[in-house]
């Protein structure tokens, strides 16, 4: 009896088509929450979300992130508030794409997106610098650093809301 059941399973699968996908000709859609290469996000007005707080680096179990911060001024502003990331690097060979950095970030600046095709011929190229990570500017806004009105961007972390 068991024998019959076993063979039944086998024959059922013979009739099904193959599950193998012919990558790269064919691609499977990625899940919404897939964790691929990181992106450093910008606000709609083009300012960088990252405030150089290094919490992502502290959370990273693989020690893949390196952040050095510097001070914003109204003449040369990168991000809201006083602090921005002067250096932001992720070593993609070290990264295990766990997404802890995303969880740690107080401004939702670092997000693991859908790009997973990373390749490099030199280990040093695996260190993605800030210009490789940062999102392109939204259309029609000025880039960073830029001059801003004094007294407008005084806060680094977007205002929290009272719970409803």
């Amino acid at each position: 009896m068991n024998l019959v059941r076993g063979f039944a399973t086998t024959f059922k699968h013979i009739l099904e088509g193959p599950v193998t996908v012919q990558y790269p000709e064919q691609e499977r859609p990625l899940r919404e929450r897939f964790k691929g290469k990181h992106a450093l996000k910008r606000y709609d007005n083009g300012l960088e979300k990252c405030i150089g707080c290094s919490l992502c680096a502290a959370a990273c179990p693989a020690d893949a992130i390196w952040v050095e911060a510097a001070e914003n001024t109204d003449e040369e502003r990168y991000s809201p508030g006083e602090r921005y990331a002067k250096t932001y690097e992720i070593n993609m060979l070290r990264c295990i794409f766990c997404g802890y950095c995303e969880d740690a970030c107080p401004t939702e600046a670092i997000v693991l997106e859908h790009e997973f095709r990373l390749s490099f011929n030199d280990r040093r190229d695996a260190i993605y610098t800030k210009d490789k990570l940062i999102d392109p500017l939204p259309a029609g806004v000025e880039g960073t650093p830029r001059q801003t009105e004094p007294g407008v961007y005084t806060r680094s972390i977007p205002d929290m809301k009272n719970p409803d």
């Binding site: 405030i51 050095e68 911060a69 001070e71 006083e82 602090r83 806060r155 972390i157």
Partner: protein, 860 residues
């Protein structure tokens, strides 16, 4: 142990020192009472209410005088109905506290909720985040959430400069008043204050220029939140990313223990660099404070002007050479000039550097002179006999002690000692200041003695005479161990003591302890030597030696002058070198050309000059061969502070490529000379050599120098509330070498000193030392430039009127061949007939000793 009392903490009985603060006493036994406003180095104010505890006391039966007992035979404790602030309590017999009952826990929770009502919670960008007492205590004792509405938070200015060094974030301030109390109580500078009331209460600076104190950086350490940040460090790194390396400040004779917070740095090519300097607790040296020079003056180490290759001057142009060639150049010259080589060591070479330099000198010729630069102070003999006792603790001096500061502008020359002496005065110590002009310490002195420049020695002599007449001599010591007393007595006999001096003597000699700090202001080298001996005479005769908190301290003009003297270098040798110039000079990290016109002229005549240096100083420019060496932060070594404490510093920064430790350079050169041995491979081994050959350093080694123990008050431990993670001392407390007075079998010598003072008839120029100057090790710290005054000279109002100059005029001072361009200040500092001229405010030399001068006003 001192007297103790028994208190009960959470039902357990403990013995604690009598008179201790309750918070400290509890901490001693491992019970944390969280605090914000209280700090063990300052008086309690009870402002934050974080330290609430249940407080009670044993009830005592009036008739029997014994504690009432309950049915279990336990003493009955009467608890106070309301919670009390622990920080404002002094322990007393029978005191009982409960620190973890529901009532206390709830109170802490509430206090934190209140403190956080308007706190911005921007920990992610806050420099304190990670080592912040508010963060820590909120995590440990605070509420998980707030009942206050987020929108009701008040928003305040986040970037308020309090002067050019410190920034205030008004939102973060929790109004604990630690910063203002530090400035008022500890420093005594009226620079910070609270302004307004209630919700508007805020810290403002009330001085002009703003935050005008030499100790401003310390407020950022003790601020329990990130409200105060330094311009130097702001956003330099997160605290957990920094690694702390123990080091010693290279700027002045106090030898403050510092901790270099280091991190790898992209802009510096991945090198490990110093991000900030923090104090490191050493109760017997700097407690937990450092001055702003030590804190912000570390940038020379990372300067882009540092030399990286040996360079030889060929036909007036510099040619880069490799080290091997450089060594050959030097050894061949040393052999060629043999007896005609002079050695000169600078003020901040480490003991190891000095030892190898001395070895090189000995190997070059039998009696090569090894001079010390600057050659303005001497007196090793006096210090060896009567230096302060081992274990001297300035922070503990009180009414039973007297302190005499003579011929020194203490705050400028040794800031942290100034701070400690000032606080000792507040505790009742009898401080006496003797100088020819007013200095800042005067306002804390019980007695101020004014003399005319050059008469400093006389003052000490008079005090000795007074001591003899009034039976203040320590007969046992004098009869038992002192040589030369008869001659000294004969010399002192019959001297008339002016009233002012006898009053001072009465004050000083009436106490159990006496410490003398001797400087060199307004003294020639010879007079300064006499001053040191006069101080030693006085201390020996009155028995103020061989005990802690008694003895002599020289306010040397450099971080490791004491070490240099200990190892045989001397100012006298420098003088003899300048008098009989050798053909070849080997100079280690000194800059005589920038400081002294005569030295510049002598060096100009020399046939070959080798300079080991970090920078192309004027001396290096004039040399024939320069050898690039490492800064204090890039290697290991030891400095000996002016209280004779040998202290280790460690490698904090990745060494500059191409440069070497000075001791290695000298050792390499020496190894190629006949009879030379192989260079040691580490500084530790050089110290072993020193310990074997130099009696004072006998038995010292790097392991013992690194010994640490828990200090009281313990602010560097793992508690959550004192803040700053760098106070902890992991690098060693250092070892003080013992004076002869402390060694039973040594005899002490006194001798008459000549108090002869030149009568200064004409306008005389007196060089003075300022803390902030353009010294080569300080000038690269651009953050401090605003504090370095432009070259100036102080004139007496009378002289100024005669010369027709007013405050702010540009004048040319001519002294000998020197023409010095400065702006004139007329502000009551200078005594009549004298012009005070700070040294090293420019790269141009000024006289190093009192000199006759004439002054010309520059017409616009």
């Amino acid at each position: 142990m001192a007297e103790t009392v028994t208190i009960s903490i959470d039902g357990q009985s403990y013995q604690v020192p009598k008179g201790a603060n309750l918070v400290d006493a509890a901490k001693l036994h491992g019970t944390d009472i969280p605090v914000f406003c209280y700090h063990p180095k300052m008086k309690p104010v009870g402002m934050c209410r974080m330290c609430l505890v249940e407080l009670g006391s044993v009830t005592v039966n009036r008739e029997s005088g014994k504690p009432d007992l309950d049915e279990h035979g336990q003493p009955v404790i009467r608890w106070q109905p309301k919670l009390q602030t622990a920080c404002t309590q002094t322990v007393s017999e029978g005191m009982a506290i409960r620190t973890s009952t529901a009532k206390v826990v709830e109170a802490r929770d509430d206090i934190l909720e209140f403190i956080l009502t308007s706190h911005p919670l921007d920990c992610p960008i806050c420099d304190k985040g990670g080592e912040c007492p508010l963060q820590n205590l909120t995590m440990a004792y605070g509420p998980g959430e707030s009942q206050f509405l987020y929108d009701d938070k008040q928003h305040l200015a986040k970037h308020v400069p309090l002067g050019e060094l410190i920034y205030l974030d008004r939102e973060r301030c929790i109004q604990c008043a630690r910063c203002t109390r530090f400035c008022d109580e500890v420093v005594g500078d009226d620079v910070l204050a609270f302004h307004e009331r209630g919700r508007k209460l805020q810290i403002v600076t009330v001085s002009d220029p703003p935050f005008d104190t030499k100790f401003s950086g310390n407020t950022t350490d003790i601020c329990p939140v990130g409200a105060l940040t330094t311009a130097d460090f702001r956003f330099g790194a997160r605290p957990w990313e920094l690694s702390e390396v123990p080091s010693i400040c290279p700027h002045c004779p106090v030898g403050c223990n510092i901790s270099a917070s280091t991190r790898l740095d992209r802009d510096s090519g991945g090198k490990k660099v110093i991000k900030r300097i923090m104090p490191r607790q050493n109760e017997q040296v700097n407690e937990i404070w450092i001055c702003d020079k030590g804190r912000f003056g570390h940038h020379h180490s990372l300067s882009s002007n540092r030399l990286q290759t040996p360079m030889l001057k060929k036909d007036g142009a510099w040619v880069e050479i490799d080290w091997k060639t450089a060594y050959q150049e030097v050894t061949s010259r040393l052999q060629k000039y043999g007896e005609k080589v002079g050695f000169l060591a600078g003020p901040s070479l480490s003991n190891e550097d000095l030892w190898e330099m001395r070895k090189l000198a000995r190997r070059t010729c039998r009696d090569c002179q090894i001079g010390l630069w600057p050659a303005t102070m001497t007196g090793l003999e006096a210090v060896t006999q009567a230096g302060v006792g081992v274990g001297t603790h300035l922070a503990a001096l009180g009414p039973e002690s007297a302190i005499l500061v003579i011929a020194s502008d203490f705050e400028e020359e040794a800031p942290i000692w100034w701070l400690q002496v000032k606080q000792a005065a507040d505790r009742g110590a009898k401080v006496m200041v003797a100088n020819a002009r007013p200095t800042k310490l005067d306002q804390y002195a019980k007695c101020v003695v004014r003399y005319e420049y050059g008469e400093a020695v006389e003052v000490l002599n008079h005090i000795a005479v007074f001591a003899r007449r009034h039976d203040k001599l320590n007969q046992t010591l004098v009869e038992g161990r002192v040589d030369g007393f008869a001659e000294l007595e004969a010399d002192l006999k019959g001297k008339r003591v002016p009233k002012q001096h006898s009053e001072a003597a009465e004050l000083l000699l009436d106490t159990e302890n006496l410490v003398i700090f001797a400087g060199n202001e307004g003294l020639t080298l010879a007079q300064q030597a006499e001053l040191m001996q006069a101080a030693a005479n006085l201390l020996i005769l009155t028995g103020h030696v061989a005990r802690p908190n008694n003895g002599l301290v020289a306010v040397w003009p450099g971080a490791n002058m004491q070490g240099a003297l200990d190892l045989g270098f001397s100012a006298e040798a420098t003088v003899s070198l300048l008098d009989n110039p050798p053909s070849m000079w080997v100079i280690g990290d000194a800059d005589p050309v920038a400081e002294d016109a005569r030295a510049a002229a002598v060096l100009d005549q020399a046939e070959f000059v080798v300079v080991s240096t970090q920078f192309m100083t004027p001396t290096a420019e004039q040399a024939d061969l320069v050898l690039p060496v490492l800064s204090f932060a890039e290697r290991e070594g030891t400095f000996t502070n002016a209280m004779r404490r040998v202290q280790r510093f460690y490698m904090a920064q990745t060494p500059l490529e191409g440069a070497l430790s000075a001791w290695k350079v000298f050792a390499q050169i020496g190894s190629a000379l006949p009879g030379g041995d192989k260079p040691r491979i580490s500084a530790a081994l050089v110290m072993r050599d020193i310990a074997q050959h130099v009696v004072r350093y006998a038995g010292m080694n790097y392991t013992d120098l690194a010994h640490v123990e828990t200090q009281f008050p313990d602010v560097g431990g793992h508690d959550l509330y004192y803040g700053g993670n760098a106070y902890a001392n992991h690098g060693g407390l250092g070892i003080q070498w013992a004076t002869n007075a402390e060694k039973e079998n040594y005899r002490l010598t006194v001798r008459p000193v000549s108090a002869e003072a030149p009568k200064y008839e004409d306008l005389t120029l007196i060089p003075i030392r300022l803390l902030y100057n353009r010294d080569v090790l300080f000038e690269p710290s651009t953050v401090m430039h605003a504090r370095i005054p432009a070259p100036y000279a102080d004139f007496n109002a009378k002289d100024a009127a005669q010369l027709g100059i007013i405050d702010g005029d540009q004048v040319v001072i001519s002294a000998g061949d020197l023409q010095i361009n400065v702006s004139a200040r007329v502000n009551g500092q200078a005594p009549t007939g004298f012009v005070l001229l700070p040294i090293r405010l420019s790269q141009l030399p000024v006289p190093a000793a009192p000199a006759m001068c004439s002054v010309q006003k520059v017409e616009e």
